[in-house]
Symmetry: D2
Subunit: 379 residues, 4 copies
């Protein structure tokens, strides 16, 4: 825990940006950052809107990211770090500018669209000595980190196989022609880079395979396909991989895999054991040893924010109550009606009913297990 909240700037992440919103929630979750500046969109109006939504000082809302970097660099209360959450093609230039202006950088993945840019960024990081974080978020799940630790500790023996798959269905039709901004840039080689599914999600799968096994691939053989007519980038990628030290693997990334939302999974198999993790059940890690019963390792409280059995969405539901109640409070402050769904927050009547229920249960049980009508539960 730092002695003050860290100051954060953001480039990209305008209204409607999924990943920008996730970065901001992530920054708030453990109360270690405060957002102080933003250049959220190439569209000035959208930037202003997001600035208002995030309660920013109007002087620190910027229409141009270059200006933000220049101006903020001069302030005494300059950001400690700047998060870059633009489309892929717009990672390199702002990241480099931030690093050179003395900001630490948090950058979304994939890092760049071009190899030269990637190398240049690596050089810049080395040259400036600034910190650089790439948000391959899957490597931060508690059970993924446990997987990595168990592998390092030799729980699987010598590694043999790593099977990664990452199927999604969202690009099964030509969504990029329907006005969906995110689908548009992801399907455009100029903005997304040379890879479609392989770049967008294949990189997650490959990164995680490397992260947990501690190996990189020695060679690969790929079959990339664009199934949707007119699409310029792959929407399906099949790869065979030969990793260091004789490990073999396959990797399947698909955005036309109907029936799958985000079904990323990783299986690592060694000489004596195996581990399986699935992103859609992130709180469990399956551990098999040869000829033994498969064990289900539940996420523990240590190193996470919640006890086992409370999948991490617990916080979100709690947050929903707080936000619904904020809507009720805001409505009262502003003398208006609250949105109807915000009224679903349990209230004092629910509290009474709960107390009554406990008393009724105790009364019935104490009398040997008889039926008691509700009017008599609490009397």
């Amino acid at each position: 825990m730092a002695r003050r909240r860290l100051r954060l700037g953001m480039i990209g992440g305008g209204p409607g940006s999924f990943i920008g919103s996730v970065h901001r929630m992530a920054a708030r979750l453990d109360d270690q950052y405060v957002l102080v500046a933003g250049a959220f969109s190439a569209d000035a109006g959208r930037t202003q809107e997001m600035g208002r939504q995030t309660f920013l000082d109007p002087a620190r809302i910027y229409a141009d990211w270059r200006e933000m970097v220049r101006v903020e660099a001069e302030r005494d209360d300059r950001p400690d770090a700047i998060a870059i959450v633009t489309p892929n093609y717009l990672h390199h230039a702002p990241a480099k500018a931030c690093l050179e202006a003395g900001f630490h950088v948090i950058c979304d993945k994939p890092m760049t669209t071009r190899w030269a840019d990637a190398l240049d960024l690596a050089d810049t990081v080395e040259r400036t000595g600034q910190l650089f974080a790439l948000t391959h978020n899957y490597s931060a799940y508690p059970q993924v980190r446990l997987m990595r630790t168990m592998i390092r500790d030799g729980e699987l023996g010598a590694l043999r196989l790593v099977q990664a798959e990452y199927p999604q269905e969202w690009a099964s039709t030509a969504v990029e022609t329907t006005g969906d901004r995110r689908a548009e840039w992801k399907a455009d080689p100029a903005r997304a880079g040379a890879g479609g599914a392989v770049g967008d999600i294949g990189t997650h799968a490959y990164q995680l395979a490397c992260f947990v096994t501690g190996r990189t691939a020695a060679s690969l053989c790929a079959e990339l396909t664009a199934f949707v007519p007119g699409r310029r980038l792959d929407d399906n990628a099949h790869l065979l991989l030969r990793y260091d030290d004789g490990m073999r693997g396959s990797l399947w990334a698909s955005q036309v895999a109907i029936g799958n939302q985000n079904a990323f999974s990783l299986r690592v198999i060694g000489e004596t054991g195996a581990l399986t993790w699935s992103q859609e059940q992130p709180n469990q890690l399956l551990f098999a040893r040869h000829r033994e019963a498969v064990r289900c390792l539940e996420r523990q409280f240590a190193g996470s924010r919640l006890p086992p059995g409370h999948p991490e969405g617990f916080i979100e539901a709690f947050g929903r109550l707080y936000s619904d109640f904020a809507e009720q409070l805001g409505a009262r402050l502003e003398s208006r009606a609250a949105r109807p769904e915000a009224l679903l927050v349990p209230t004092v009547e629910d509290g009474c009913e709960g107390v009554r229920f406990v008393l009724g249960a105790v009364k019935s049980s104490r009398q040997g297990g008889i039926w008691i009508a509700r009017d008599d539960w609490a009397t």
Copy 2:
């Protein structure tokens, strides 16, 4: 979205309090609250520690909740609402004091330990006109709210059965004698009230059954048992329930159910359809119609913070990256070494590897699917 962040005070939730920490994360998640005052513990040192951790103005950290209510009520920038996250027996007095001092209240469940206190609180809410939220958090899951909506819309026909169960294993042994503070007060009738498992988690199950079906029970028959020798409150509760309009149900709450972490589930069955929700798989809702294939309804993006297929823990893992990076930044600011696990954040080398991987995949595929060594992927 209110025009400013709402000001929040907190009573209870000292260091090590699970539910206090959840309330604070929930308040930050959607960026609508700022914590401004707290009386976190009966122990002054613990209160100070939590005040520091939450970056509170030292003047607004209070050793006594009564004092906090009195002093804060006089401020211009007084809290809009106060969250009460103390043990059950300490809900009534501070909640009442807050309401009477003109604060809105967010209160943890079960609301009180005594029926008279519950009625008194209901009266106080009515008399003062303040808002009161009870954090039965399970009613805020998107799929639970969908369940409620579908039932109201008649998707199940006339309701017949509601089966609620809430098994946990944590109290299978005499944990209350091991120095665990939370286990201690939950096992103590003076602090927890007349119900053990039935109060602690049975109330959640009953509240959710009522919430989604829109009915309360007409009568009940209960069998409460304390299996662990020496325990004074039930650790297992079996109930049969007759609800209004002929609906029948059972409810099982247990804290000695080995193999279960927090396996709360609710099944509602009607004349023509049925719905099943399980807290440990909160993003799915199973919907059956008579003689049709069961359908798995995935949580949607609308009304939540994430697209389907991204279970809500997604934010937590992202938050882990931000917090680990904050540790790196803090370490640098303070000229110390970062904690080793904070170094697991992906960095620029991972970014280069990802770019290289995409280029290698594209190259292999373009050449008809040949094996390419890693050194040649990006060249």
Copy 3:
């Protein structure tokens, strides 16, 4: 293994009888019985039809079960045992007659509809010294027997809870008025007895709870409901049970539980461990010890007919190939066309394709992993 196949007679089990057909398949499965005589139905034509289908000697097909018992008792090659698979009300009389005529008896459950008949049958068994088997089939699953053994061996410690549930959906509407013969007698108190769902499937649940725990209930509290208008027997049963030695439990049997086909499950929880078995996943047994990872115990080969990972339906699919091929053979013997679906049996072309595939895979791999066109796989 006996030195000859045992001779079996059957009462009940006419055309369309589900349970009669299951008894006959079960008798053939391990090749220890041969069906030699039958009185399959009160309808003489239906009895003849089943006799032909089972290739019985026409002299041993009986219109009346009393005649069968009398005549068969005189034969040298008389049945060793007689299986009784009639509706519940017709178990007692034939079972008693068979026992008194010196036949061993295999009887479907529930044994009788009246208590006096049950006692009378118990007396008859004792008096005649004949063997009597009641087909509570769930007690014969390998993982159920393992559950029983583990409990006896103390793997769970002192038992605390047994949760049994058996939900089905088939009687959610008034099926007994639609001409369904099985639904008809099951809904008729005269033929089914005093219990509806509680008799039909609740008895399975209770028997299994007793079988695996080695205890019977000391007392019960029941709520039986008939949800479907006009129905005379319960279609839903909720029970609380107090078992011997302080074990507690609940039992839910329902035939209006939409979304459930035959979702029988049993959970037994003790002081130190717990076991869960679900009929729809019969090859697995979940074993939890307090605070340890849940383990999934797979059915083993020893004591069963198939290796782990081959759910027992494996035999049925194999049987389908044999039966489809029998249809092809029969068609040829009878100079007629085979039913089209019988032609789905893989044939010599499939065999060639498989061989070709293996050779192609080996060839590609040996050449370093190159793409090879199908025409070149085997050349």
Copy 4:
């Protein structure tokens, strides 16, 4: 249903042979075959033992399969068909001899080890006009056949992807050196052919992919690996496949995949829908349409032997009761003690307990839901 039971001979399938035993159970299941002759093993003693176990006429137990083919061909009651369940290298010669002697043939897979033999067998089938069935058993599961029908009916639209995987763990160590006969021949190129895992189980995966999609592959790219030191055939096979009409796919067959018993699964994805079938959950078929809730299609009664919700192991458990009871009967016939586990068959006391339970439940419920002690249930 033919007008008599078909006569079956068998080559291979001696004591301890898993697949021989499965073929015999499959032949009996629907009561359409009777085993009349066998040459079960190269070892005369083992052949005699299996002949006795199957109650064969001693004159029709053969030490040499060639003799069996020759002698049986002369009989009036000659077999209609002969099942060949020998190791792979011994399929071609007996199959050819049987066909030429006028027998229909049921042959285990893979059909032959050599391409020339495969072609020769295809010629022989054509020349002789005999029927030939290859037991790719997975193609006979009801949900697999449903999958095929749905694909033919266009439920998925134009096909895009077929993902097949078949992981097992049994060969993770050098089992072929431990005296396991089956492991021995499967690891020996002379007896198993050129493929290890790819031949043994990869052929199942490829056959099923072709069966359900109606396509064969146009080309393949393979990576076969032998992970276990000293092993001469692959124990892991990764393949990429280009199928006819632009369909793409991958196939993974492994016998070193720790944690997997027989986890064969097949996913077919088209333009508008997708289907997933898993051998270890054979009674369900998952059906997804783009952007709709995934539906779980349960096996139906029509076209199978059991209603939905009764996984096909139901028959096996019933069979266990019959076999245990046969052991009791046999023991009595032979004046010996029955094996103890055969005494687990429920008996008349269990029948009484069940009747008592139903009466107790009815009595409690009729009296408004009161607790009733067991002694009073039936009185």
